[in-house]
């Protein structure tokens, strides 16, 4: 499948390969520049190298806690109660591991939030909501952003069927 506008033809975008198994995608982001003036990737990699004591390529909660405790000691702080929350926030896909991509995203987000003087309030607020939503996958909070998005999608689908003469099946509502 190709995508184009009047002056541009984008690349062919369809899986043109044999599918033997639905293994997880690498999720490698090969997009354009990943930071403005700051090499987030290099910073993330450096932190990963330091914190990843078992050299698995990702950080588990034990490694993260260990690093947080070391940081707390060095800064003279003793309260590490926020470690679990921080870990959950960085573990965007909820798999119990922080990957270098997630580390990079967290650094970038923290850097961006620190630059709150920029007129991006609406943007950051929404981004935070989305991030929170990604962590709420296993929760049953009815008001989480994920649930709200799903509800909105249900409503949109039902609105289309509500205005459609449907003969394919008996009408069943999705209760949002």
């Amino acid at each position: 499948m190709t995508i184009s506008n009047n002056s541009m033809m984008a690349s062919q975008m369809y899986a043109n390969k044999e599918v033997q198994a639905q293994s997880g995608a690498s999720g490698t982001w090969t997009g354009a520049s990943q930071g403005a003036g700051m090499d987030f990737s290099a910073i993330a990699q450096q932190l990963m190298t330091t914190m990843d004591t078992n050299k698995s390529g990702t950080l588990d909660k034990a490694e993260f806690s260990q690093a947080a405790q070391a940081l707390s000691k060095s800064s003279g702080k003793t309260d590490t109660s926020g470690v679990d929350a921080a870990f959950a926030k960085m573990d965007a896909n909820g798999d119990g591991q922080i990957s270098s991509d997630e580390m990079m995203a967290a650094i970038k987000q923290a850097t961006t939030q620190a630059q709150t003087q920029k007129p991006h309030h609406h943007h950051h607020q929404a981004s935070e909501s989305a991030t929170d939503g990604t962590q709420a996958n296993s929760s049953t909070q009815a008001s989480s952003p994920t649930n709200e998005m799903q509800k909105n999608l249900f409503n949109k689908i039902m609105a289309a069927y509500g205005s459609s003469t449907t003969t394919a099946g008996t009408t069943t509502n999705i209760s949002a």
Partner: protein, 277 residues
């Protein structure tokens, strides 16, 4: 317009985003990728850490699901009803075990054995509680969750103030807003000649999904078996079907269902724009 390529749901994905600057576009893409990866992790059929995997490889037959998971099941059951049982998450999920066969004979044996359990009639959703009637029925969100991710990507972009983007997850496409004040133009690839387009479609705030047997398949004894597993009674006459719909989920489900049973009658708001026999 900023262009990004990445991989998710085992397919190449592409994003065109109209943003005021590179940083804004980068941030938007990070959010979308993060969200797509989360869905992939939660609902990947073969991903051993997924919530779906735990349920399919269950010890007992009753589970309390997360709200989102329950919502996806509910959505799937809605489409099972609307497509008269053609689109069925328990059909492909249960029969997927047959695709691990090393011989065609083994494939047919496994498929025939599991077929009685390959139906949503064997699952019951009551609130967030999902109950299976047996140990063999499994669920697969293929044809639904990638499309769901595309629809949610649109919402995520809306939430951060982006007004124009094109989201393409392996052929499941949502055109959000306009492309330089014009509709987005999508070329539908000819499965028999990949360098050619069958047609071009103009999209504005609409979704387009193309399902086909030619790109994704399993191979047993050199025989290609489509990743879309047909029911025993249905016959295949479409090799590829492209559907236009208000949501990507709608487009994806109906394009998948039409491949299995081309005789399905589509609701008025669903448009079959291209079909290859």
């Amino acid at each position: 317009m900023y262009l990004y390529n990445f991989e998710a749901f085992t397919t190449p994905c592409e994003l065109h985003i109209q943003a005021s600057n590179q940083t804004e576009a980068d941030d938007a893409v990070q959010i979308i990728i993060s969200h797509a990866k989360r869905l992939e992790h939660c609902y990947g059929f073969f991903r051993e850490t997924s919530e779906l995997y735990a349920i399919n490889n269950r010890i007992n037959n009753t589970h309390i699901l997360s709200d989102e998971f329950a919502g996806l099941i509910q959505m799937a059951l809605f489409y099972t009803n609307m497509t008269q049982g053609v689109f069925d998450i328990a059909l492909s999920g249960t029969l997927k075990a047959s695709l691990k066969a090393s011989t065609l004979e083994e494939y047919h044996t496994i498929k025939d054995t599991l077929f009685p359990f390959a139906s949503s009639e064997h699952i019951l959703l009551e609130g967030n509680q999902l109950t299976f009637s047996n140990d063999f029925t499994k669920i697969d969100f293929g044809g639904l969750v990638k499309e769901y991710a595309v629809d949610q990507a649109v919402v995520l972009l809306q939430n951060i103030g982006i007004t124009s983007a094109l989201i393409n997850f392996g052929g499941d496409i949502a055109a959000y807003g306009a492309c330089h004040n014009n509709p987005w133009k999508i070329g539908i690839q000819d499965p028999n000649s990949l360098n050619l387009n069958l047609m071009e479609v103009e999209l504005y705030n609409h979704s387009l999904c193309t399902s086909g047997h030619s790109k994704r398949f399993y191979e047993i004894e050199t025989i290609k078996i489509s990743h879309i597993i047909p029911t025993a009674s249905a016959f295949q006459s479409y090799n590829q079907a492209s559907i236009l719909a208000p949501t990507t989920v709608d487009a994806g489900v109906w394009s998948t269902a039409l491949l299995i049973n081309p005789n399905l009658i589509l609701p008025d708001h669903i448009k079959l724009i291209s079909a290859i026999e």
